[in-house]
């Protein structure tokens, strides 16, 4: 018997496809919730993405009691406290987060406060602090990449202390994730590309890092196949709702995969680059993915080689000698990045971003080394190693 052991958990009800939003009233009623509050941001509202959500509820006689649409890109403890105060004042009984990572994380944090009580979200920071189920919480993602709708983590900035507070608990998982292609139809090309590459990176790292397991592998490979088959098609046909649904589902599947098997060095470097150079997360993922896979290559040759089947399809997989499949997988990802660069100039190197200077690389490497995800990278990473990967990603 080997020492193999793993855990896998995802109790989120996934409601996906055409007219998925129209299931919200029924699902809320099933949880005895009648007074929902929407948490979102101004961009989502301005894009008209709230309209179908509100219409779907009103048509079923369910009134949205309150809408908070001022969630900032980096949500803070103050914002969470303010939203919780409105929730209590309006006597709401459930939360629907509509948006990307920030709105979803804010919704999770507000749910902690309104369920557990108090006004200081900081005291619930950390792992395993929550001991009870929270109020009914639904998530409607408006990007196809973060996978936050199926993760048990939220990150909120404590403005006073200037630190990011992590919250980890299975009780943060929403009761339902509503994946409706209408919510991503109007995403601009560069965001479509970056967020899809975020999902791709979640899936690839999930499949190649230390905590991989048979169940997360199944979700990861399915997600990679969907992104590989649909991303360029959606870039060329942005109004194709079937393609949009494929990407949205891929994002959720990749989210389920990585929340159960974690991620590695791509994320460590991406988190550090995002913090220092303020580059979007998805862009960082796309940028670093091939360079990190090259760094990890000899440790992950076998699983990376398997991914060629999902990246390029059975014909190319069968025609490629087993010993060359890992390199061919990296080439497939490079080819995809080149195609995205051609369509929306999604940067492939740090230099191409125009927002990073070479003298920042040391700082990025140092910060990446202290990132939690580096623990799960299959190969040990020293400061020198991280710096070398950054140098290769420079130009």
């Amino acid at each position: 018997m080997t020492n193999t052991y793993y855990e896998f958990f995802c109790p989120v009800k996934v409601i996906a496809g055409k007219a998925a939003l129209e299931h919200i009233p029924y699902e809320l009623t099933g949880l005895a919730a009648k007074r929902p509050m929407i948490v979102t941001d101004k961009g989502v509202r301005a894009a008209g993405l709230l309209d179908p959500v509100i219409a779907a509820c009103e048509e079923s006689g369910l009134e949205i009691i309150s809408i908070y649409d001022d969630v900032p890109p980096d949500s803070s403890t103050t914002v969470v406290r303010d939203i919780a105060a409105i929730y209590r004042k309006e006597k709401c009984d459930s939360i629907i987060a509509v948006g990307g990572g920030s709105a979803i994380d804010t919704g999770k944090a507000v749910n902690i406060l309104v369920s557990e009580g108090g006004t200081d979200i900081a005291k619930y920071a950390g792992a395993g602090v929550l001991k009870h189920p929270l109020k009914p919480f639904f998530v409607v993602p408006t990007t196809a990449g973060t996978g936050s709708e199926v993760t048990s983590v939220a990150v909120i900035t404590d403005e006073k202390k200037g630190v990011k507070l992590p919250f980890t608990s299975s009780f943060l998982l929403p009761n339902a994730a509503i994946i409706d292609p209408r919510m991503t139809l109007t995403l601009p090309p560069h965001i479509t590309a970056a967020t899809a590459m975020d999902a791709m990176t979640h899936a690839v790292e999930s499949f190649t890092c230390m905590a991989k397991n048979p169940l997360s592998d199944a979700y990861a490979t399915a997600a990679i196949k969907k992104v590989s088959q649909s991303l360029l098609h959606v870039m060329d046909n942005p109004k194709d709702s079937d393609g949009r649904l494929e990407l949205a589902q891929a994002s959720t599947m990749a989210g389920i995969a990585f929340s159960n098997s974690m991620v590695g060095l791509v994320h460590s470097l991406g988190h550090a680059t995002g913090a220092i150079c303020h580059l979007p997360h998805g862009l960082c993922m796309s940028l670093y993915l091939p360079y990190v896979l090259e760094y990890n290559l000899e440790t992950i040759r076998q699983p990376l080689g398997e991914l060629l089947l999902y990246l390029e399809g059975p014909e190319i997989y069968a025609a490629t000698p087993a010993s060359r499949r890992a390199e061919a997988s990296i080439s497939a990802l490079r080819k995809l990045r080149d195609a995205l660069y051609k369509r929306c100039q999604l940067p492939r190197t740090l230099k191409e971003t125009g927002k990073v200077s070479e003298d920042q690389l040391d700082h990025i490497a140092e910060m990446a080394l202290d990132d939690g995800s580096i623990m799960f990278n299959p190969k040990e990473v020293s400061l020198k190693d991280a710096r070398a990967v950054l140098q290769r990603a420079w130009a």
Binding site: Y6, D370, D371, G372, M375, E380
Partner: protein, 181 residues
């Protein structure tokens, strides 16, 4: 029948082994921070007074060290003067035994959800690097390779032997001092 009789003894032995290993590791952490500049460099990034704890849930053995400044650690034994800043918690003594008997690497134990991190994850990552460095020094290479993700290529035998001797001497001295006190 015999197995049933032996089982409580085996559990007792396992508990004693984990307690002993925590005591050795705690003292060795203090010692390595006095002899190795790389560990000192890593530890200097921790706030002065930073308390690090490793423990077995729910109320099992504990190892507590404090960063007392300049990259130096002080071993507090199993009781902390205040709540720890970062705590690595084994979910069960069986999981602690797997790691401390080098049947499972620390990184693999994290990946396998054998333990939880409570506190700032970046500090936990730093402390894990320090623990890896310590294990690379004090364990024979063949065992250290089972304990750490990657045995450091630049750690050559003379440096390893000298550092290990210094660490073990300090650990032994500390044990004697504690016994006398």
């Amino acid at each position: 029948m015999l197995a049933k009789r032996i089982q409580p003894l085996a559990f007792q032995a396992r508990r004693l082994y984990v307690e002993l290993m925590f005591q050795v590791m705690g003292r060795a952490l203090q010692a390595v921070s006095e002899v190795d500049s790389e560990v000192q460099g890593e530890a200097q990034a921790l706030p002065k007074g930073f308390l690090f704890e490793m423990m077995v849930m729910p109320e099992g053995a504990k190892l507590i060290v404090e960063h007392i400044g300049n990259g130096r650690f002080h071993y507090h034994g199993g009781s902390a003067p205040r709540p720890a800043d970062v705590s690595i918690k084994f979910k069960h003594i069986a999981h602690a035994f797997l790691v401390l008997s080098f049947q499972e690497k620390t990184a693999v134990a994290f990946a396998n959800d054998r333990m939880l991190v409570d506190g700032d994850v970046s500090y936990a990552v730093r402390m894990t690097r320090i623990l890896n460095r310590l294990e690379s020094f004090i364990l024979p290479k063949i065992i250290a390779k089972r304990a750490v993700k990657e045995y450091p290529e630049n750690l050559h035998l003379p440096e390893k032997l000298i550092s290990a001797a210094q660490i073990y001497l300090k650990v032994a001295t500390h044990f004697v001092q504690t016994a006398r006190a």
